[in-house]
């Protein structure tokens, strides 16, 4: 069946050279061959013709899209060799076929399409054997199919060659046109399949050659090149499908090529096709129109041009006796959804693009670097689109980290990395990357603003935040619409710094700066409700209640359902002791934000004052129910990574609630101090130790839900303390303690309960423990001061209370207690001053501190 004669070293060698396209060795081998037997002359002609034609094509490659131009003098010899071989007809049938196919190829190169088709008609390509054929033969057959397709495309449709079956009908019916299109596509598809098979076989031969250490190893780094015909055969079919608007078949063809086991030569092709298929999946398909690679495509699909539908057959219309090897094995992952498939393809292209990253920076490689950067950027952009749709920002940030080897001085990649880190919650690293982005693009105000957002929010890096905010402010007019945002950011930084400051002078200085910045922001952007709102909040914190009310009303006019403005309004009303109005506002706000725990805490406080503790307890119960329905539902056990869209959504909401919570509850002081943040870190570490001591504590994952729960219990406990019910209060506190045993809030509440029971010593111990966790917890300091006073340790009590006043100078009950201690010590004048201060502050004191309202950009 084959032309192989075992034992003939020479023939094997010729076969190997033809398979590996080592045409330069052929003439010498032909010389040896003809020396052996005269009858080999015809074979020699064939080989020489092939070698000359291939060499010519290598030196004058045909460009894609260009048509061959007439006869070439260089090819005369080729034609002579072939004509000689064919005319004599002494060759074995296999070689005769090869000669015909070569002749057809030559005709194509010289632009004689009809002649070429005539040769193909005589050989009948479909009957050529693929099984057991020598490797080079596969290449010849694949090229022949591609060439036949090319010729068919060139020859006018009315060619008599093709309308053999319906002779005499010059008018071309639609049916024959579509049949012809089909024939062309089939040619290319067959060519592509056989080409893949050929490349796989060649690689196998090469590999075994290397392993066997054959005496005549080919050039070590010999790399196969596809050449015009095989490239066309591999790609032309899907190009036609897409040109015709037949996405279904185009995608099918892509998948067939990609499922074939890769070879060294097809790597670049696979990378391109994988990226193109991913593009189509992301740009042209949706979940409903998708079908998996293992399924049959839908018969009617919205993806296909309706004009084409029905004209082309959507199923495979040909069969081959041998096909390229496909990836196979047990448990192969097969995508079931368009994003899944796109991601898989992009990860494959990414790994290849990464491999080709040009690292050297010498000028000669500039071009290479640009090419490698471009092909990688396309892949990373598509990865971003796919992963962003599915909310997988953490994975995305990991992918983009890998892109950094391309990123030197490339703004887009740096910026995308920074954004992905931010979206993934990796704030500290995001700020570092944003700094680099600012260096690359110093005029863009968005970038420093993004950095301030992180510094103010999750990181609490106020000095850095101030620096970034000032960058925007310093841009002046250039920052345009962002200028107001810059002032807003600066204001927030100062406002937070004021809360952190432990010295009154510094506090007031920052408050003044914050007010100035907010005023500036408000005047620059009078339609921005945030500017009015933060101005109102800052005024409220410095107890300018009427002015604050004015601005908060303005904010509400601009944005009627803003939750923080409503909350602030309620607190301002409570500061004016209009508790019922405040409660009405809170209830109105709750009708729009029923699951906002911050509002609910305030509601509990107000209800205790207006409607009595029973109502407040009902609210606590309601909060527990909300908590349950909320967090129970949103924690499906099978979510592998926690950054899905929904998780993100919750995380955002959580951040709003959580702004006040770094110190997990602090229902009383509310203010977020640097020290209390440190305390809560200690607390968390201790809780971790505690839970690791327990054998199988399930308290893992996001902490926030648990903090909220603990806080709800503490609120309930506080209500019970107010009612004078120590047993119930203890039970509630215990629930919170089960979650956070070392929280200073829990310890403080235990102290309260102990006081209620009259155990002064025990209460003192609890308070001291609370302060050891958080030394600036004002409520605790106040209670401890009072107890020390009861124990008649006046000077220590005074010291504690003075420290408390330093931390929070607006706490009226501390001033009051301080007054009492001073009075007990006989310092009446100082005591009077304290009482006066307490009185004055009490008149403007809200039910919960204004600072429980989160401040974020």
């Amino acid at each position: 069946m084959t032309a192989r004669k075992s034992g003939s070293r020479l023939e094997t060698e010729i076969e190997r050279c033809r398979s590996e396209c080592q045409w330069d060795k052929i003439p010498e081998l032909v010389r040896q061959l003809s020396a052996k037997l005269i009858s080999n002359d015809d074979l020699g002609e064939l080989l020489l013709a092939e070698c000359k034609l291939q060499t010519y094509l290598k030196e004058n490659p045909i460009k894609q899209g260009a048509s061959p131009r007439g006869p070439r003098p260089n090819l005369l010899e080729v034609r002579k060799h072939l004509t000689a071989a064919l005319d004599r007809g002494n060759l074995k049938s296999d070689y005769l076929q090869e000669a015909s196919l070569l002749m057809a190829k030559l005709c194509y190169v010289e632009g004689e399409y009809r002649d070429a088709l005539g040769h193909y008609g005589r050989v009948s390509l479909d009957e050529l054997q693929l099984a057991g054929a020598p490797v080079y033969r596969l290449s010849i057959i694949a090229e022949s199919y591609a060439t036949k397709g090319l010729c068919l495309e060139k020859v006018p449709t009315a060619s008599p060659l093709l309308s053999n079956n319906n002779t005499g009908s010059p008018a071309l019916s639609n049916r024959t046109a579509s049949e012809r299109d089909q024939e062309i596509i089939t040619c290319y598809e067959k060519s592509g399949d056989i080409a893949l098979l050929y490349l796989q076989e060649v690689e196998k031969v090469c590999m075994s050659g290397i392993q066997n250490r054959s005496p005549k190893p080919g050039p070590a780094a010999h790399e196969q090149e596809l050449g015009y015909f095989l490239e066309t055969g591999l790609q032309r079919a899907h190009v036609i499908h897409f040109k015709n608007g037949n996405l279904t078949r185009g995608v099918g063809r892509f998948r067939e090529i990609l499922r074939a086991v890769e070879t060294r030569t097809t790597q670049n092709l696979r990378m391109t096709i994988a990226r193109q298929l991913a593009e189509i999946l992301l740009r042209g398909m949706c979940e409903q129109s998708y079908w998996s690679p293992m399924e049959d495509p839908p018969t009617v699909s919205p993806l296909d041009d309706p004009a084409q539908q029905g004209h082309t057959h959507s199923n495979k219309t040909y069969s081959l006796s041998r096909r390229p090897r496909l990836y196979s094995g047990e448990n192969l992952f097969c995508p079931q959804e368009n994003t899944e498939e796109a991601l898989l393809l992009l990860l494959i292209s990414e790994s290849m693009a990464n491999r080709d990253a040009v690292l050297s920076r010498i000028p000669e490689h500039n071009n290479d670097r640009i090419i490698s950067l471009q092909s990688a950027s396309v892949v990373y952009d598509l990865l971003t689109i796919a992963l962003g749709r599915r909310g997988q920002y953490e994975m995305l940030s990991e992918c983009l980290e890998r892109a950094m080897k391309f990123a030197f001085e490339e703004f887009h990649l740096w910026y995308q990395l920074a954004l992905s880190l931010m979206a993934a919650g990796k704030s500290a690293r995001a700020v570092k990357v944003l700094k680099e982005c600012i260096r690359l693009k110093p005029d863009d105000p968005t970038i420093p603003l993004l950095a301030v957002k992180l510094c103010i929010g999750p990181l609490h890096w106020l000095d850095e935040g101030e620096c970034f905010a000032n960058m925007v402010v310093d841009m002046g007019e250039k920052a345009a619409e962002f200028r107001a945002k810059g002032y807003l950011a600066a204001g927030l930084v100062y406002s937070l710094k004021a809360t952190d400051a432990s010295l009154r002078g510094i506090q007031e200085e920052y408050q003044r700066k914050a007010l100035g910045a907010f005023q500036r922001a408000q005047s620059l952007s009078p339609t921005d409700h945030l500017a009015s709102f933060y101005l109102a909040l800052q005024l409220a914190v410095s107890r300018q209640i009427p002015e604050a009310l004015g601005y908060v009303r303005q904010a509400l006019q601009l944005q009627g359902d803003d939750v923080h403005s409503l909350h602030l309004l309620a607190l301002l009303l409570s500061a004016q002791k209009h508790y019922h109005d405040a409660l009405n506002i809170i209830e109105m706000a709750l009708s729009e934000y029923p699951e906002n725990f911050n509002l609910l805490y305030t509601k509990v406080k107000l209800e205790t004052l207006c409607r009595g503790p029973e109502e407040a307890l009902l609210s606590c119960k309601h909060m527990l129910e909300i908590w349950k329905s909320f967090y129970n539902l949103t924690n499906p056990s099978d979510s592998g990574r926690g950054s899905s869209l929904l998780d993100r959504a919750i995380a955002d909401r959580r951040q709003l609630n959580a702004m006040t919570l770094p110190d997990f509850s602090d229902p009383d002081t509310g203010s977020v101090h640097a020290t209390s943040i440190a305390a809560s870190r200690v607390e968390q570490a201790l809780s971790e130790v505690a839970s690791s001591l327990q054998s199988s504590a399930p308290k893992q994952g996001p902490l926030h839900p648990w903090m909220t729960l603990a806080q709800i219990w503490l609120h309930a406990a506080e209500v019970y303390v107010g009612m004078g019910k120590p047993a119930e209060a203890t039970a509630c506190t215990q629930e919170a303690a089960n979650l956070f045993p070392t929280s200073h809030n829990v310890l403080y509440m235990r102290g309260q309960v102990a006081e209620l029971r009259g155990n002064v010593d025990e209460a003192k111990r609890w308070y001291e423990e609370a302060l050891s966790i958080n030394p600036t917890h004002v409520k605790t300091m106040q209670r401890l001061g009072l107890i020390l006073q009861q124990l008649q340790r006046y000077s220590l009590s005074e010291k504690v209370l003075r420290d408390a006043v330093q931390v929070n100078s607006t706490a009226h009950d501390v001033w009051n207690s301080l007054g009492e201690v001073l009075q007990a010590q006989g310092n009446a004048a100082a005591a009077t001053e304290c009482f006066l201060a307490a009185l004055e502050l009490e008149a403007s004191s809200p039910v919960l501190p204004f600072t429980i309202i989160p401040r974020a950009l």
Binding site: L344, V358, Y380, D638, E768
Partner: protein
């Protein structure tokens, strides 16, 4: 509204009602031939005060509920227009006009969040991994490049939930509005291929308007509708971008790119990283595509050409592949960056900061509130919510049912009954008390003696201690992660849910492998 349009709509309304059950699918297929109907329906939705709005909404809901895919898609094509009606009405604080649109959208939402059996639907997908063989690749040929933190943590395929489960919603509130609308857009995006050009255009218009109303750019676009700012969320914008991306590639390039610009403009002003990220990527990838082919036909811009298969990168350039065989001297690797600094950052990112999303997630123990009211079976609830139209609006006017309050049998909050089932397994205070006590003893002594207000050294001590713990943990974790991945291979599991224990630890690995910043 013209009388002719009115006639078309009225005919459509009556035709479906009289349709026998077995004719529905034929009817669905024939809908697209009614050329005048769709524009007429758009008019009805745009004119908020039309008498036809309520019956139209009702019928669209009936379409959606029918379960017939083509009818559902027919209803879905109006989603962008309906969203805009709802949002513009809610910004004008004129709730009466949008009552039936609200009811329709809530009805669609409540139908979509449950599966056929009335169970909450959870949308999930598999994150492919190069370390697992697939129909397109073989792990061994990918090489060792992918051995990073991420690859270790996700050795194998993990199934990720990207939406759901969602709560049933009776009314729109400021809090749930965008959650519902985002989910509806997700449904719309899942059917993008079936959407008509006019629907895609409407989506782009919606995107532009939502993003620019009330901002200086509104003047630039010369849009004179409402002029107050609309609140948006980052997730909502991401969903809009997905639709715009499709429209850009398959429809009107001009309207699409304007919409994309407007969304990016707003995302910048709001400092939304997610929307900026995806929007930038779409813009950058479209830029590349536009360079390749400048077709104005508005047809599908999916074009593929024959590309050369040989590598375009010259052989002698140093690439990551060629450098892989290179041996580095040891001291070079150490000097790459200051590891201390990176370590510090990684710690910050690990959710040590309270109140932040800690990576990794474990299901919290379920909390049982034993005297909570038994929820009616979901099926029944869903059924109830399906009744729509005038009734629903009426229900809404009556105000939301006063939840648990009315039925609450006792005012006393009985702590016993509000039992936390998890409490048994959570650490007890006693386990830690000795440590705390020592600490507090130290504190109170120093406090009484010197009266220092802030005993910093104590905090430092704790902090340091914690630091050490963290490090110890990392080592253990790395070890464990290694063991885990080995066992994975042995058992050939296709599914891995990285335990929460690993998440805080893996970063230390990344610190060593990460690029030098």
């Amino acid at each position: 509204m013209l009388a002719m349009d009115q006639g078309v709509v009225e005919e459509w309304l009556s035709e479906y009602k009289t349709l026998p059950d077995n004719a529905v699918s034929n009817y669905a297929a024939s809908l697209k031939d009614k050329g005048a109907l769709v524009p007429a329906l758009y008019k009805v939705i745009r004119e908020n005060y039309s008498d036809l709005l309520e019956p139209v909404c009702h019928q669209l809901f009936e379409f959606y509920r029918s379960g017939e895919p083509w009818l559902q898609r027919f209803a879905l094509q109006f989603l962008p227009e309906l969203l805009w009606s709802l949002l513009s009405a809610s910004s004008a604080r004129d709730p009466h006009t949008s009552g039936c649109i609200e009811a329709l959208l809530l009805g669609m939402y409540n139908l979509e969040i449950v599966d056929k059996d009335g169970q909450s639907k959870v949308l999930s997908f598999t994150v492919p991994s190069l370390s697992k063989p697939s129909v397109y690749h073989e792990p061994s040929t990918i090489g060792s490049m992918a051995l990073t933190e991420g690859a270790l943590a996700n050795h194998g395929l993990s199934r990720v939930v990207y939406s759901g489960p969602h709560l049933q919603r009776e009314t729109f509130t400021a809090q749930n509005r965008f959650e519902v609308l985002t989910f509806l857009l997700l449904c719309y995006n899942a059917a993008l291929s079936y959407m008509t050009p006019s629907s895609l255009q409407s989506l782009c218009q919606l995107s532009s308007r939502v993003c620019i109303c009330g901002y200086p750019r509104q003047q630039l676009r010369r849009y004179k509708g409402i002029s107050s700012r609309l609140t948006v969320t980052s997730e909502f914008l991401v969903q809009l971008i997905t639709g715009i991306h499709y429209a850009l590639c398959n429809g009107d390039v001009e309207v699409g790119s304007r919409a994309l610009d407007d969304v990016l403009y707003r995302a910048q002003l709001e400092l939304f990283p997610e929307a900026l990220l995806v929007g930038n990527a779409v813009k950058s990838s479209m830029h590349c595509a536009a360079l390749k082919s400048n077709n104005k036909e508005g047809a599908r811009s999916i074009q593929v050409e024959i590309t050369p298969t040989a590598s375009r990168i010259s052989r002698n350039a140093v690439t990551s592949l060629s450098i892989r065989g290179h041996r580095w001297k040891r001291h070079d690797a150490v000097d790459l960056g200051s590891p201390d600094e990176l370590m510090e950052i990684s710690e910050m990112d690990e959710g040590v900061w309270p109140g932040l999303t800690a990576p990794g997630d474990a299901a919290p123990p379920t909390i049982t509130i034993s005297n909570s009211f038994t929820t009616p079976s979901l099926g029944a609830r869903a059924m109830k919510k399906c009744r729509l139209g005038g009734r629903t609006s009426k229900d809404k006017e009556a105000g939301p049912a006063p939840g648990g309050r009315a039925a609450s049998e006792s005012v006393e909050l009985s702590v016993k009954r509000l039992t936390l089932t998890s409490s048994q397994s959570v650490p007890k205070a006693g386990a830690l008390s000795s440590l705390t006590r020592t600490a507090s003893a130290v504190f109170s002594r120093s406090f009484e003696a010197s009266g220092t207000p802030v005993p910093n050294h104590l905090l430092h001590h704790h902090h340091h201690h914690h630091h050490l713990l963290h490090h110890a943990g990392s080592d253990a974790g790395a070890h464990e992660a290694g063991r885990y991945s080995c066992s994975m291979q042995e058992e050939g599991l296709g599914y891995l849910n990285p335990g929460p224990n690993h998440s805080p630890l893996s970063t230390s690995i990344s610190v060593h492998l990460g690029p030098d910043l």
